[in-house]
């Protein structure tokens, strides 16, 4: 499937625009719907996701190629990945709490949410399926995070405006958010001709 010659830059760009992890692969919808009420919290969660996604995709790649494959344990990848992600998030939380109170106030509340964000696990699973190399994996993780943040911040902005709009009663809340996300996905499809890969 994946072509090992594809440069990391192309993968990065593709992950942000043409195959946006949220709007095309539908990953991380739960926190997307729950947190996108305004731009401020969307930004906070977005940055936390970029950071965790970049690091865990690199980590999980190394764990998979150097521990799971040699010992023939690939079937346990789900358990191992989720443990790596949970442990990493916990570690980051402790480190920034100790050394950077500022960052902690910005990102702290969002970190626990990230463990159960399916986008993080999804990215790790995708990079295994697509046979990415280490550099490609990190690029994919970073691009996926940036794309996710782009989508959630845009949605935060739209929802701030929506609060003052006359939305039909039954459509309020999740309904209108999903339909707005559909319109966003439509507009992101405009990018799809730019890179001839998924």
């Amino acid at each position: 499937m994946a072509n090992p010659e594809v440069s990391a830059f192309v993968i990065l760009f593709a992950a942000i625009f043409t195959s946006n992890i949220l709007l095309v692969n539908f990953l991380g919808m739960c926190s997307f719907l729950a947190v996108s009420r305004n731009v401020r919290s969307s930004l906070g969660l977005g940055f936390a996701v970029i950071f965790v996604m970049t690091c865990t995709s690199g980590l999980n790649y190394l764990v998979y190629q150097h521990i799971l494959v040699p010992y023939n344990l690939v079937h346990f990848r789900f358990i191992v990945f989720i443990i790596v992600i949970a442990a990493f998030v916990q570690l980051v939380e402790m480190v920034i709490e100790r050394y950077s109170p500022f960052l902690y106030t910005v990102l702290g509340v969002f970190l626990p949410l990230i463990t159960v964000n399916c986008a993080i696990l999804g990215v790790s699973l995708f990079l295994i399926i697509r046979n990415y190399s280490f550099v490609q994996s990190v690029a994919y993780g970073f691009g996926g995070g940036v794309g996710w943040m782009l989508a959630i911040v845009a949605m935060g902005g739209i929802r701030e405006k929506l609060k003052n709009s006359p939305v039909p009663k039954g459509l309020e809340g999740p309904g209108i958010t999903l339909i707005t996300a559909g319109l966003m996905a439509l507009s992101f499809m405009a990018f799809s001709g730019m890179i001839p890969m998924q």
Binding site: F26, I129, G175
Partner: protein, 201 residues
């Protein structure tokens, strides 16, 4: 707490507290796998299996699980069942396993399962917990099949891979692609909230 009968639990999971419509949980896979009915039904069965049995296990172990690490224990239980499902799919239905791709693994982070373990199985005996898991899985599968029905019918003109609409019917290509998943599910939620509004607690 009052014990509810199995029938009440079932009807709550299927309709009045449906995880997708009412609680907006498990949306990721609800959107991603609903372009073909076949894939959707397999995904539904997989999810029903995992929810029912992980609720059962969490509930059976509820008295010996330390409170502080219960999330980790729940995740491990769920992940074990997902591995079983993944291996079974790879062995018996390799094509569908490939089509579903990472979304089988993503059952682990499906909020429905975690939500039921945390919200119900943790405080209830195994049998009601099992029924509750089953009911929520069924509720999820039911919504997914409804979405997939619309998308496959309009997008490919077929149901379960069998062409039902005449060739003269123009296929709605958009239905197969990502945005339509949002539109169809959004519209379903709209209809459900308009005609069967949530009872205020």
């Amino acid at each position: 707490m009052m014990r509810e009968s199995s029938a009440t639990i079932l009807s709550k999971g299927l309709w009045s507290d449906n995880p997708v419509f009412r609680q907006i949980l498990g949306i990721c896979s609800a959107l991603a796998v609903t372009n073909l009915l076949i894939n959707t039904s397999i995904m539904g069965v997989a999810l029903i299996f995992v929810t029912a049995f992980s609720s059962l296990t969490v509930s059976a172990l509820r008295n010996i699980t330390p409170l502080r690490i219960r999330m980790m224990v729940q995740v491990l239980i769920i992940a074990s069942y997902v591995i079983v499902v993944d291996m079974a799919l790879k062995a018996y239905l390799p094509d569908i396993s490939r089509a579903l791709g990472p979304y089988v693994g993503l059952i682990i982070t499906n909020c429905i399962i975690m939500g039921r373990c945390e919200g119900y199985a943790r405080n209830n005996p195994p049998w009601p917990a099992f029924v509750d898991g089953l009911a929520n899985g069924l509720g999820y599968a039911f919504v997914l099949l409804a979405v997939a029905f619309v998308r496959e019918l309009l997008g490919f003109g077929s149901l379960f891979g069998v062409t039902v609409l005449p060739e003269s019917f123009t296929r709605w290509t958009i239905m197969v692609m990502a945005p339509a998943a949002f539109f169809v599910l959004g519209t379903f939620i709209w209809i459900a909230n308009t005609y069967w509004p949530k009872k205020e607690k």
